[in-house]
């Protein structure tokens, strides 16, 4: 599985959503499962999937599916 597939799978699993909803409209608090509790689960799952530990500023800045690519790039994860 490449990084993009891994990244997508984390979203699909964490939020029980369909692959077709993974786009620029997928933003924090726009779907029921991505609330503060869902966010905590998402960050934990991403950290595990990519074997990284995210900084506080990145966790609170991780406000959308799109934004995530940019943030993970900072940890050397290329898409």
């Amino acid at each position: 599985m490449d990084n993009k597939q891994k990244y997508d799978q984390v979203f699909i699993d964490c939020f029980s959503i369909d692959k077709s909803t993974l786009n620029e409209d997928l933003v924090y608090n726009t779907i029921e499962s991505w609330d503060s509790i869902g966010h905590m689960g998402l960050i934990a799952a991403l950290e595990e999937a990519f074997d990284i530990v995210m900084e506080t500023d990145d966790i609170i800045d991780f406000s959308s599916y799109e934004k995530g690519f940019e943030i993970l790039l900072g940890y050397g994860i290329e898409f």
Partner: protein
């Protein structure tokens, strides 16, 4: 008796700092509040759909000052459930955000207050309100039950006063919101600070959002409160590395924080010169019953502390006799002016007076150490505390049964298990329960089984479910 009548003494203080960093004085707050309250011709029941915003707080205070009885409703409420609540309680008025997607029929707009509107309903008012009734508060904090606690004006004043006293709240304090104001713990933070002339920083953002931390820093917040999962988030956000010079104290309530996390926060807060105060309460006590003075945070880890000023605790055995020995377990019983009047399950209960006479059997099992500090050890009743919300397992079963499924529920505070007998419905059941309770799907797991285990008399054998 209503302390909200005395807020004029703080006129020039800042009462509210909005999400747009707008500072609103007590004078301005009271002007808006009374303008809203004056729209009501007489004592009546009002549904207030709450958000952590100025309009919501102003409505709350305006209605209290106008002697309306309130039902505080979270704005995330499910449309169907809201409709059921309306039919059950038939409020005279509904105050809600303009953009709220709730369906209202047979209502007329009375007035508009910035982003909120006040609607008058056409219900035939076939019930009356007891003179002391100030508001109805949800027992679960979530949206799953029609059962509310009846809080009196005296309850609100007494509890807010006691909290202000033991936390040493002053007009210089600036609490920032972390939980929806319809939630009884969040409301008690607002009440106890407004009655001391402090400034409430209102935000809709959660701990997981940049906007929250900007609001906290930009406005020099001095305190916030959290439920157990808030502290899990703070841990994830590496609280220990945060620089929070303006924070004076942090409170914890809404369920038991595990011992490891408690120790971690006791140490980290001590290093930052922040008082960390563990507390205990229930909606039935409006809500605060105890606190652990921060000086004892290290030596009494895991304790909910001592009764609040004006309150008293004791333990009872199964026969209702008081337990005198230390370290013995019994049901925790509380006595104080903040013990609420009783429950309401429909509008016809709103005329009832005080049924508790100041005494609350908490349903929690506890022990007391030789120094008089209390420790919660378990529960008599079948309920969980999920993300700070009380979840009654029997009510969840009723909810699932109402949707046509045979089921049985068991679980722990971090995972509620729903056993059911219809194959292929796992996801639907979880999303249904999540939607109706307002609790994230992460808190539920559904398990398919052939048959619900029962004993000979037909009672569910919960012990056979893992």
């Amino acid at each position: 008796m209503n302390s909200y009548d005395d807020l004029e003494q703080y006129c020039s203080n800042t009462a509210v700092i909005t999400g747009h960093s707008e500072e609103i004085s007590y004078a301005e707050l009271l002007e808006t509040a009374d303008n809203i309250g004056q729209q009501l011709p007489n004592r009546c029941l009002v549904f207030v759909v709450c958000k952590n915003c100025f309009e919501s707080v102003a409505g709350y205070i305006g209605f209290i000052r106008a002697r309306a009885a309130l039902v505080l409703i979270p704005d995330a409420i499910d449309n169907k459930f809201f409709a059921k609540l309306l039919e059950t309680y038939k409020p005279g008025y509904i105050y809600l955000p303009k953009e709220q997607p709730l369906l209202l029929s047979n209502v007329e707009i009375v007035s508009s207050h910035r982003s909120y509107t006040l609607h008058k309903t056409n219900y035939c008012i076939d019930y009356s309100l007891h003179d002391d009734l100030a508001m109805l508060v949800s027992t679960s904090g979530s949206t799953g039950s029609r059962k509310f606690v009846r809080q009196s004006y005296g309850n609100v004043n007494s509890n807010a006063g006691a909290i202000g006293q033991y936390l040493g709240i002053t007009s210089a304090d600036r609490p920032i919101t972390t939980l929806p104001m319809s939630y009884t713990y969040a409301l008690s933070i607002i009440n106890s600070h407004l009655l001391k002339g402090a400034s409430i920083i209102l935000t809709e953002a959660s701990l997981m959002e940049k906007r929250f931390w900007e609001a906290l820093r930009d406005n020099n917040a001095t305190t916030f409160g959290g439920v157990p999962y808030s502290f899990e988030m703070l841990q994830k956000l590496r609280f220990e590395e945060m620089d929070l010079p303006s924070i004076r104290y942090i409170t914890q309530a809404g369920g038991k924080l595990n011992l490891d996390l408690t120790s971690e926060f006791v140490e980290n807060c001590a290093q930052k010169d922040i008082e960390f105060i563990v507390m205990y309460g229930q909606a039935e006590a409006a809500p605060r019953m105890s606190y652990l003075p921060w000086q004892h945070a290290r030596t009494k880890i895991g304790s909910v502390g001592i009764a609040i000023p004006g309150g008293k605790f004791w333990l009872e055995d199964e026969c209702g006799n008081e337990i005198i020995d230390s370290d013995a377990t019994g049901e925790l019983v509380y006595q104080g002016d903040n013990v609420t009047m009783g429950y309401a399950e429909s509008r016809f209960d709103l005329r009832k007076g005080d049924e508790n006479n100041g005494i609350l059997h908490t349903g929690d099992l506890a022990s007391r150490d030789a120094d008089g500090f209390y420790y919660i050890t378990g529960r008599k009743k079948r309920f969980l505390k999920m993300y700070g919300h009380r979840v009654n397992l029997d009510e969840i079963e009723d909810l699932v049964r109402a949707a046509g499924h045979n089921c049985a529920c068991v679980g722990t505070d971090d995972k509620l298990k729903i056993y059911f007998t219809k194959p292929g419905e796992n996801d639907r059941i979880v999303s249904y329960v999540s939607k109706r309770t307002g609790i994230n799907t992460a808190g539920f797991v559904s398990v398919y089984i052939d048959e619900i285990p029962r004993n000979e008399s037909g009672k569910v054998l919960y012990s056979a479910l893992g």
